[in-house]
């Protein structure tokens, strides 16, 4: 339904300022990342303008040729993808079973799973770091891949349980009556309908992994195996020296594709959150 002229104006007047305020730090990262040292650290200069030597791509050059930045990005994506795969493999069947095959205790177990998600990393940290050490996984991405499912699985199972519940039972019953086995029904009927839900879980899981900071900073000190959050934080800030230009370039780069991804799948995400294609 097209909006009337007045409604349209009001919409822009509300959404516009929100967008400006929320996106400002990223605009600021962009501007900072394109500045020369000379310009950046001269307090006389207007920070919104360009001073001596700006704009320049020097910071980007430094980031890509003099640091392990590309490595950190790849590590982040790798950890994220592997954890997503593990999480789906475990949470899909569990979420379905809790939603459909178990009675009342499925419900309480669902809430229980969410409670597991509340346990702060600081509590699990010491025992887990011991486990990581025993297995010889320090400074390896495998340590993160081992630990992250601890918070992604409960969360994903809880979300998936909700999605599966919203699928009408009749659909499955029809397939079952037709002689399909439960597992076949699951793979051919239930999962395809739950695609928006599954997509939501993938995005959520990936974003939880990318956001994680505490384990990543504690388990991995070797530059080669760092992920993007910790790599930038530990190597572009050296004592009192902040490489602000490169730092801002480094924070901006992963944010853009992630936001594009979220925006592209947002409608599906919303469909997933409100309970699948059938309501």
């Amino acid at each position: 339904m097209p909006l009337r002229r007045r409604d349209k104006l009001i919409t822009y007047l509300v959404v516009g300022p929100f967008a400006i305020v929320l996106a400002f730090p990223f605009y600021w990262m962009l501007q900072t990342s394109l500045k020369s040292e000379l310009d950046l650290y001269n307090t006389e200069n207007n920070p919104f303008g360009w001073g001596e030597g700006s704009p320049t791509l020097d910071n980007y050059r430094f980031l890509f040729s003099d640091t392990q930045y590309v490595h950190w990005l790849l590590n982040t994506v790798l950890v994220g993808l592997v954890v997503v795969a593990i999480t789906l493999a475990v949470a899909l069947p569990a979420g379905y079973a809790l939603a459909r095959l178990s009675g009342r205790w499925g419900q309480s177990m669902g809430v229980g799973l969410f409670l597991v998600y509340l346990v702060p990393p600081t509590l699990l940290f010491l025992p887990l770091s011991r486990v990581v050490a025993e297995l010889g996984l320090q400074d390896r991405l495998a340590s993160l891949i081992l630990v992250y499912p601890g918070f992604t699985i409960p969360f994903a199972t809880w979300l998936l349980m909700g999605f599966f519940k919203s699928i009408p039972r009749e659909l499955e019953d029809a397939a079952l009556v037709d002689g399909a086995s439960r597992l076949r029904t699951l793979v051919w009927i239930v999962f395809p309908i739950s695609l928006p839900g599954i997509l939501t879980v993938i995005i959520f899981t990936f974003s939880l992994c990318v956001n994680e900071f505490v384990y990543a900073i504690a388990f991995i000190t070797h530059s080669d195996s760092k992920v993007v959050s910790t790599g930038i934080y530990t190597e572009l800030i050296r004592g009192d020296v902040f490489y602000w230009g490169a730092l801002m370039a480094a924070t901006l780069i992963p944010s853009i594709p992630l936001a594009l991804l979220y925006n592209t799948f947002l409608d599906r995400f919303i469909a997933g959150f409100t309970g699948g294609a059938f309501r």
Partner: protein, 301 residues
Amino acid sequence: MPRRRRRDLLEQRRFLAPALIAPAVIFVALLVGAPLALSVYLSFTNATAGSLTGDFVGFQNYADQWSDPNFRTAFRNTIVFTLVANAIVVVGAAFLSHFLVREFRGKWFLRFLILLPWAAPVALSTIGFLWIFDSLFSVVNWTLIHLSLVDQFNPPQWLGEPNKALAAIITVHAWRLLPFATVIMIAGLASIPKEVDDAAKVDGATGLKKLFFVTLPLQLPIATIAVLFGIVFTATDMAVVYILTRGGPFNSTQMLPMWAFQTGIQAGALGPGAAIALFLLPVLALVTVLMLLFARRVEVT
């Protein structure tokens, strides 16, 4: 035939459900259950770094922390951060979502801008704010100085003065949670059936009346979920405080996860560290259960 089929299903179900749930349970038990149990044990001992055992000291660690001023500050701050940031987020998101469900030109791009804070990894965007609040080169201060709102020679130190640092941390939390809450609220609006709209129209409910008596009540269960996530994200997050202030200046922006990390991991006092981290757990668990129950109750009626 029907009877046999039903029995088959039942057989299958009895076997299938545990088989499907087992891997998840094993993962959670090993990665969360066991370490958690060990931490609970540690919180009753005087264990220090290097060993995972110590002498049993009962509730001593908890009592010590409760009377420690740093703990008190951390406890208070955790609650303040969480409540204030989420209050801002809920009001902002409820408002914004009403406009963002509409169709308008340029929506895709504006939505992209709005989603950025949520998409960016928290540690990275917080580094962005570290620069925005820099003591010398803060763009906020530059702007305020040029608007003659603050003294050029004594500009505010956003991360160096207790109250301003608290405000800075709350700003970052609210900023980064707002898009997510908005998305969930849009989901809530989208789930309101078209018939309700029509019924409201027939009953003559329009504008504000419709907003307060029809839309907002229907939005409530999903708004509760948004707040629940918001509370969990703020109360358990350590990255923002770790990067912006490390709990400083003088522990004034200390919060529980940060204080637990500094005590238990950096200072090596495992027992007290575990006790600090455990303080938060029952509170969060209670809040979660209440909110989930509330969301369900509202949904049913």
